[in-house]
């Protein structure tokens, strides 16, 4: 099993969710985060004084999938989250040691 973490632009969430559904992935966890990479922040102005907003709102999607689904999942995410503009985000993959479905207490691949 692998964990896929994707940082994407917030308005892309629905598109990514639909694309993952098309390759057979139906579950995920989503959190609202802030961050920046090479995109950098931007300067705003309030009552005549400038201030810098470094952190931009992003969405983090986390999913745990079976090994044979990893490539399909990454492909779906990248294709749907891409806008071609700076700040599109990143995808990270890491290993997962164990997974348990709480309701049925299934373990392993049948839990994801």
């Amino acid at each position: 099993m692998k964990k896929i973490e994707a940082i994407i632009k917030p308005f892309k969430l629905e598109e990514v969710k639909d694309a993952l559904g098309e390759v057979g992935i139906e579950g995920m966890t989503v959190s609202e985060v802030k961050g920046f990479g090479r995109q950098k922040g931007h300067t705003e102005i309030y009552r005549g004084s400038e201030y810098t907003v470094d952190f931009l709102p992003k969405i983090k999607i986390e999913l745990v999938v079976a090994d044979n689904q990893v490539e399909a999942a990454i492909g779906a995410i990248v294709k749907s989250a891409k806008s071609g503009k700076i700040g599109d985000g990143k995808v990270f993959v890491s290993g997962v040691e164990q997974a348990v479905r709480i309701r049925t207490e299934e373990k392993g691949d049948s839990a994801v």
Binding site: E44, I45, Y46, R47, G48, S49, E50, Y51, T52, F55
Partner: protein
């Protein structure tokens, strides 16, 4: 130790407030003379022995009678006393007036229906004035909600409960202080309420007056504490309610300037002082018949310091207190970098701030037109329209000016601009034309933007722009009256009568001395042929306001500082005042962007670093 000092101070204040109950009488002291204070209209007759009380608590007996429609009746002339009995002219005039009165009385006894009609007309006229004054007073009370929303919207999420509650509690605190002694200090010598628009009760005829430069200087009122005794009168209660909501407008202004770092207990102690002593002193001098209103008849300065609805009495007083408190309490943590550049702390709720601004603008339709204290004075239409026009140019002017100066049409500045226009028009609203209202409103829009920049340069941190809106534009409003007043209203204001003579000269004189071809003018400013006289009267008032309120504010701030301290600790300020000070979050259960709320102090502004 500090707690004991506080308890001692509270006991002393309570004791002092009881003393005037026994002392409000006509005792003469060396160098001071008690006199009936002239009301806003013609000067009173020479003071006789204290008249019998004529208060009417039920509002059913002497409030609103034929005496209130003097054009329909003939009044008994005042009996001559002392030296007047030797003046043949005065005796002849009295005899003629007495005969006219006797003839009228004989005729009146033959026409009971006419007299009943006169009584009914008088009653209805006063009733209209009562309803007008009360309803406009209720509108001004609603401005408390407007202030609460503007201030809280412009402050940060983590301080919402604290900012809102300060605005909530200032209402009862200020009101009770005004009830205990503030109203008595301010209006104890004002004469008939509304100069006769709210009845003829004469209980408020006790003004402490000093003779300075050979002129009577009204200093403070000494009657009306706790609204008891002969102050228990329907018309006086009407006046109290109306004036109290004006006082609370002043009281709530400093809460915006000291927000986000003011201890709630310190604010409450301030609240005990504002309605009792801080507001009424200057208020008496302008609206209570005191010396600033008499600058005209005493020193020939226009119609004295004229302030129709309170640019100086209400707004500038609040603005000066705000300035002193913001200066002494210091800027918010993280506001200024080491090089003086600013780290903005943006408003947490712009919709709330704009809603509050509209509520204030609506309430101002009570604030300004209500200040006629008369629904039968039809100038109210001009007052209301001028108020509206100035709010528009203030708002638009500020928004466009900010857009031009710094590149974005800042919503918070649009709010400040509308309020600045309203503050500025508050003094001259009854005395200017539509053009004047539009012009001075536009200036106030520009002024509020520039003054926000100015106070930031001085590192005086004002989270909501209270100093710029109320202090700076309160002063501008009064000065603008000296420029834009067009003479169409206000004849005899503060007892001063100014006439335009046939040869074009403009001067003050007693009406009985005025030539037949002279025209009595209302309040007249520089741009309309009044010269600088009225402007100087306004300037003296503005300068007096600044000096007096600065002194009073510093004293009150220091009293609070040595007893309980004004400012919260740095930890509390960073966490947000809601939980530590109030025990509850403004938005419990709502997740907010906490990290952006507290700026980091750097050597210079972040956007200038690399």
């Amino acid at each position: 130790m500090k707690r004991y000092l506080l308890i001692l101070a509270l006991i002393a204040t309570a004791a002092l407030s009881v003393l005037p109950l026994r002392a409000d009488n006509t005792n003469a002291m060396a160098g001071m003379a008690m006199t009936n204070a002239p009301a806003a209209a013609a000067p009173a007759a020479p003071a006789p022995a204290a008249p019998a009380a004529n208060n009417d608590p039920a509002g059913a007996n002497t409030t609103g009678t034929r005496a209130d429609v003097p054009n329909l009746i003939v009044s008994e002339p005042a009996a001559l006393t002392g030296d007047d009995l030797k003046d043949t002219n005065k005796v002849a005039a009295y005899t003629a007036a007495k005969k006219a009165f006797d003839d009228y009385t004989a005729q009146a006894n033959k026409e009971p229906l006419a007299m009943q009609l006169a009584d009914t007309v008088g009653h209805n006229k006063i009733a209209i004035n009562f309803v007008w004054t009360l309803v406009t007073g209720f509108l001004v009370m609603f401005m408390q909600a407007g202030f609460a929303l503007v201030e809280t919207g412009l402050c940060r999420h983590k301080n919402a409960a604290h900012t809102m509650t300060m605005n909530m509690m200032i209402y009862p605190l200020g009101m009770l202080g005004f009830y205990i002694c503030g109203f008595a200090f301010m209006f104890g010598g004002v004469g008939a309420p509304g100069a006769g628009t709210l009845g003829t009760c004469t209980s408020l005829s006790h003004e402490l007056t000093w003779t300075i430069f050979g002129k009577p200087f009204g200093i403070i009122g000494t009657h009306g504490f706790f609204l008891t005794g002969d102050t228990y009168d329907a018309g006086l209660f009407c006046l109290f309610l109306f004036q109290m909501v004006f006082m609370d407008t002043t009281a709530t202004i400093p809460t915006g300037a000291a927000a986000e770092r003011w201890k709630f207990s310190a604010f409450m102690l301030y609240g005990a002082f504002i309605g009792t002593v801080m507001y009424p002193v200057f208020g008496n001098w302008v609206w209570g018949g005191g010396w600033l209103s008499q600058l005209g008849i005493n020193f020939g300065l226009g119609h004295g310091h004229v302030d129709f609805a309170g640019s100086s009495v209400v707004h500038m007083q609040g603005g000066v207190i705000a300035l002193i408190f913001a200066w002494l309490i210091g800027p918010r943590y993280g506001k200024y970098n080491k090089d003086g550049s600013i780290n903005p702390m943006p408003a947490h709720n712009i919709p709330m701030a704009i809603l509050g601004t509209f509520i204030l603008a609506f309430g101002w339709f009570g604030f300004n037109p209500g200040s006629t204290l008369s629904g039968t004075d039809l100038r109210i239409a001009v007052v209301a329209t001028n108020t509206m026009l100035a709010s528009a140019t203030g708002c638009l002017g500020a928004l466009l000016w900010m857009w031009f100066r710094r590149g974005k049409p800042d919503p918070s500045m649009a709010c400040n601009g509308m309020l600045a226009g309203l503050v500025a028009i508050t003094c001259p609203c009854a005395f200017v034309s539509a053009f004047g209202a539009v012009a001075l409103g536009l200036v106030s829009g520009l002024l509020v933007v520039e003054s926000v920049f100015f106070f930031d340069k001085l590192k005086i941190d004002d989270p909501v722009g209270a100093i710029s809106v109320h202090g700076v534009n309160g002063a501008w409003g009064c000065l603008s009256l000296g420029l834009f007043a067009d003479g169409t209203y206000g004849q005899g204001w503060n007892g001063a009568h100014w006439f335009k003579l046939a040869n074009g000269a403009y001067q003050m004189m007693d009406p009985s001395m005025a030539p037949k071809d002279a025209t009595e003018m209302g309040v007249l400013g520089l741009f309309y042929g009044g010269g600088m006289s009225q402007f100087w009267a306004e300037f003296v008032g503005v300068a007096t306001c600044f000096i007096t309120l600065s002194i009073l504010s510093i004293i009150v701030y220091k009293i609070v500082e040595v007893t309980i301290g004004n400012r919260v600790t740095e930890e509390v300020e960073i966490e947000g005042l809601d939980i530590p000070e109030m025990g509850v979050e403004g938005y419990f259960g709502v997740v907010a962007n906490k990290t952006a709320e507290t700026p980091h102090v750097r050597e210079k502004a972040h956007h200038q670093m690399g």
